[in-house]
């Protein structure tokens, strides 16, 4: 009867401990998703095409080494950039870019003020971001973010009007289920409000 000298350790709860560890690792090892502002750099070409751009079609954003901002020679805050950019892009004061030899047409989807002294058409509106070499990267990203936000907002608005869904929702749907009809819509919105951002040589 009393043969047992050392009682065996109950291993029944080992599974629980292991499960606990397993869940801990499952939860903690979720990798930090790498996200950011996506940009496509312009290709380098040997031939510099001579393009004449009217001054009113360019929104000049200049930022100096003290992180101070000038938009069209007026001192503004970063948070103002989005509004100014939207106003500028969506102005629609003139004719659009001629496509396939056809003359450009006025913007029929713009909700802007149609100010003749601002941009002609979203497809012509260029945003120029000139930074100083000493500007901090945080500021630079903030401005890029505001410009991106302006475009996204305009695309969202147009998308809601045309398709009843926001642009973000369309992109989301396309991610989950890429269909041809969605792609057409997204491309259409991108064509209506193309992102034209130029970054001239930084101020030395």
């Amino acid at each position: 009867m009393a043969r047992r000298e050392v009682g065996e350790i109950n291993a029944g709860s080992m599974a629980d401990i292991a499960f606990l560890l397993l869940i801990f690792f499952l939860v903690t090892t979720t990798m930090d998703v790498d996200s950011g502002i996506a940009r496509k750099l312009p290709e380098k070409t040997d031939v510099q095409p001579d393009v004449i751009v009217k001054e009113k079609n360019v929104l000049d954003i200049v930022v100096n080494r003290n992180n101070q901002l000038l938009v069209e020679n007026e001192y503004v805050k970063v948070t103002d950039v989005k509004g100014l950019a939207m106003k500028f892009i969506d102005n629609g004061g003139g004719l659009g870019t001629p496509i396939d030899g056809k003359p450009g047409e006025p913007c029929d989807y713009c909700g802007g003020a149609k100010d003749p002294n601002s941009s002609d058409h979203p497809t012509k509106a260029i945003i120029s971001l000139q930074s100083d070499r000493g500007t901090t990267y945080g500021m630079y990203v903030s401005i890029q973010n505001e410009i991106e936000a302006a475009y996204n907002q305009l695309r969202n608005d147009l998308s809601l009007k045309k398709y009843g869904r926001s642009y973000d929702a369309l992109l989301q749907d396309y991610n989950d289920n890429p269909t041809e009809s969605l792609k057409v819509k997204i491309d259409d919105l991108k064509d209506k409000y193309p992102q034209i951002i130029t970054e001239p040589e930084p101020i030395k």
Binding site: A11, G12, M14, A15, A18, F19, L21, L22, F25, L26, T29, M31, V33, D34, S35, G36, I37, A38, R39, K40, L41, P42, E43, K44, N67, V78, T79, S131, D132, R133, G134, T135, T136, Y137, G138, M139, Y140, V141, S142, Q144, N145, E146, E148, A149, N152, E199, P202
Partner: protein, 157 residues
């Protein structure tokens, strides 16, 4: 002896003695498979700026990351650029991209993205230099790595 027989005879219980082994196996699998090849940062960990209009980077295997930040040694000023496990100069960026391309299949090269993880205090000059180098070798898809948030005011001042 008869007292041992009083239990009703039915289905014997399934032994759960091997359950810990199975769970441990799973545990080890997850422990091993989720270890990422996290590059050891030789520079100070970049404090990423905050942005609201972020896009997730798709195809993680096609992303090459360039880190920009201050040196760990506080006496050394200026921005340092790190790729993989070494600190490089701006002019070495193309060779890094070439070596990254060599690891991928040819048809995947055009989908490759360069993610720039830079400290918010870094100067734009460095970033623009890197961008210029990337343009030179036609690595045109870039992403400014940021963390998601709406309060942009921490990015500057």
């Amino acid at each position: 002896m008869s007292k041992f027989k009083k239990g009703k005879k039915g289905m014997p219980a399934i032994s759960t003695a091997s359950l810990p082994d199975i769970v441990f196996m799973l545990l080890f699998f997850f422990m091993v498979s989720t270890t990422m090849r996290e590059t050891d940062l030789l520079i100070k960990k970049p404090a990423l700026p905050v942005a609201s209009e972020v896009k997730k980077l798709e195809h993680k295997s096609l992303v090459s990351t360039i880190y920009v930040g201050k040196s760990k040694d506080t006496r050394i000023s200026g921005d340092k650029i790190q790729v993989n496990d070494k600190i490089i100069e701006v002019k070495d960026v193309p060779s890094f991209i070439y070596s990254e391309r060599a690891l991928r299949k040819e048809e995947e090269v055009k989908f490759m993205t360069t993610s720039i993880k830079a400290d918010k205090e870094a100067s734009v000059g460095t970033i623009l230099d890197i961008k210029e180098q990337l343009r030179d070798i036609n690595a045109l898809k870039i992403s400014f790595s940021t963390s998601k948030g709406t309060d942009l005011s921490k990015n500057y001042n």
